[in-house]
Amino acid sequence: MGNALFIIWRESAEAMLVVGILYAWLKRQPDGHKGMRYLWGGVAAGVGLALVLAALMLGMMQWLSADSMEYFQLGMVTVAALLIMQMVLWMRRHGRTLKRDLEQGLQQNLETANWWGMLTVVALAVGRESAETVVFLYGVGLEQQSLASTLQVIAIGLLLASVTFWLLQKGGRWLSWQAFFRVSELLLLLLAGGLLVNAAEKMMNFGWLPPLIDPVWDSSALLDDSTSAGNFIATLTGYRAHPALSVLLAYLTYWLAMWGLMRRTNR
């Protein structure tokens, strides 16, 4: 549940940042007030897009058999991990120019009074965030909870995001968007690693991946992954008290690859 909450918080704060940038820009324009309706229309369309995606996924779960479900979950966990990796790299590349890119897109649309174009810019920005959220949440298993607790987590996540957004907008010595992205980036990378470990284990269960040495060690005396705290850390980071060698290799490969990719985008 903690994972799901974290994802909703991070993605909503990011979506709010995007909308906030657009809103502030519109307010400064002489014709801006005309655009407000389209801005909020774009937000609604983006959220709608994500809901359609979520409905499709839930629909698929209805007609999949038990075995197909296993494969489907493996696919979803893998896709969620890849999406997170892609997103972290994307933010690295575009985080600094995000504001300028968005404003340029708007400027072009404003000059031609193309409000529908603007709505699309917003819908895609918001939709991207929310669609990513849906896939992540599936990857960390939120769909297995009851509807009530799901809605509760979403509500808490949105509330936290609003508070975060407000604090970050006010700016301050302790909080900056930069710090927010750095901390949440690290958490996201850990989470993607956790999802990949999960995917590797599912593949081992299908017999697609040999365990090699199983287990390499037993660290349950240090941190037992069958306690609730240990289990939470295991889900968030991919920690295992009894890892098989192939899982360990996959994990190390992942961190090396991410480290290499991040260094490349920093240049």
Binding site: S68, Y71, L74, G75, L82, S146, S226, A241
Partner: protein, 110 residues
């Protein structure tokens, strides 16, 4: 990219009808009142086996054991199974993640 992998997953799921889960030593496990029964399950070491889980309680459960690389969610009234890889002799913990306080158990491989 993600479309492609989803398509692949769908294809795999249509083709692969769990041939990997046939004709294995099978054990039954029942979830009720926040417990998993039996709480100690003896199994032969060194060979794959199957646990059929039935959720007789009125809330969802998740049979979980990171040591056995398993996590299986079952809705109230649902039945399913997990296939466990060959175990070295020893004991392996499992629990229901939605009722962690009451459902701790172990699988003993001999």
């Amino acid at each position: 990219m993600s479309h492609l992998s989803l398509m692949l997953v769908m294809l795999c799921s249509l083709l692969g009808q769990a041939a990997w889960a046939e004709a294995l030593p099978t054990f039954k496990m029942i979830a009720r009142n926040g417990k998993l029964e039996p709480s100690t399950l003896s199994v032969p070491a060194g060979q794959r086996f199957k646990i059929e889980i039935e959720n007789q309680s009125n809330s969802a459960i998740e049979f979980e054991s990171l040591q056995l690389r398993q996590e299986k969610v079952l809705a109230p009234g649902a039945k399913s199974f997990v296939v466990i890889h060959p175990l070295k002799p020893g004991s392996y913990k499992f629990f229901d993640e939605y009722h962690p306080a009451t459902s701790q158990g172990q699988i003993v491989a001999k």
